[in-house]
């Protein structure tokens, strides 16, 4: 079992550009959540995808958007990058968006640096 895989591992972008991050969930998982972890901080919830729809969103602007594919993999897109978007982006997968008693498994994250 490959677990949750994210790509790329590192990325450098210029302010104003757009970026796409990718996540493949753990085998058997159908729900993907994205988190932003700024340096020295805990992860902050961005949004969650289940059945190819965004189920809930954290306090992030519309520049942050996502997508889930029929195979449950997901993308996180960020438009008009700001210096403050520099962070580690973590993907977590689990089974069932509404199920409470499930464990979230995390990937190793994508380190995004905006210059």
């Amino acid at each position: 079992d490959a677990g949750v895989t994210q790509s790329p591992t590192h990325l450098i972008k210029t302010r104003g550009q757009q970026v796409t991050l990718r996540c493949s969930p753990k085998s058997g998982h159908d729900t993907v959540s994205w988190y932003q972890q700024a340096l020295g901080q805990g992860p902050q919830f961005i949004f969650q995808y289940y059945e190819e729809e965004e189920r809930q969103r954290g306090n992030f602007p519309d520049r942050f958007s996502g997508h889930q594919f029929p195979n449950y993999s997901s993308e996180l897109n960020v438009n008009a990058l700001l210096l403050g978007d520099s962070a580690l982006y973590l993907c977590a997968s689990q089974t069932g968006a509404g199920a409470m008693n499930t464990e979230a498994f995390f990937g190793q994250g994508t380190r995004l640096t905006v210059v």
Binding site: G42, P43, F45, R55, L90, A97, A99, M100, Q108
Partner: protein, 117 residues
């Protein structure tokens, strides 16, 4: 809104000794889950231990145990017989158990644990 607070930015422990990491949280909900996650330099968040709020018994996983005080909204992690591999950032996290809510995690700011040989 729920919040999680970790007041110890850094902690240090000697190998084979015991260390306790503190966490407090604020919520108006009665049903929820609490977690401790470990994040080593590899960056992957690893679940250490989990506590259901309706359970009075404190959770234990090998060398890791918690002291869950629901009334005080306190959830500390005790690591016994510390090992060099325990060195990492530790995050306390909260998740609602209310039906209809997403199972998003709310994290604290973390405690960096150093283990001295």
């Amino acid at each position: 809104a729920q919040t999680v607070t970790q007041s110890q930015p850094e902690m240090s422990v000697q190998e084979a000794e015991t260390v306790t990491l503190s966490c407090t949280y604020d919520t108006s909900e009665s049903d929820y889950y609490l977690f401790w996650y470990k994040q080593p330099p590899s960056r992957q968040m690893i679940l250490v231990i989990r506590q259901e709020a309706y359970k009075q018994q404190n959770a234990t996983e090998n060398r890791f145990s918690v002291n869950f005080q629901k009334a005080a909204k306190s959830f500390s992690l005790k690591i016994s017989d510390s090992q060099l591999g325990d060195a990492a950032m530790y995050f306390c996290a909260y998740r609602s158990a209310h039906g209809g809510a997403t199972n998003k995690l709310i994290f604290g700011t973390g405690t960096l644990l150093a283990v001295q040989p």
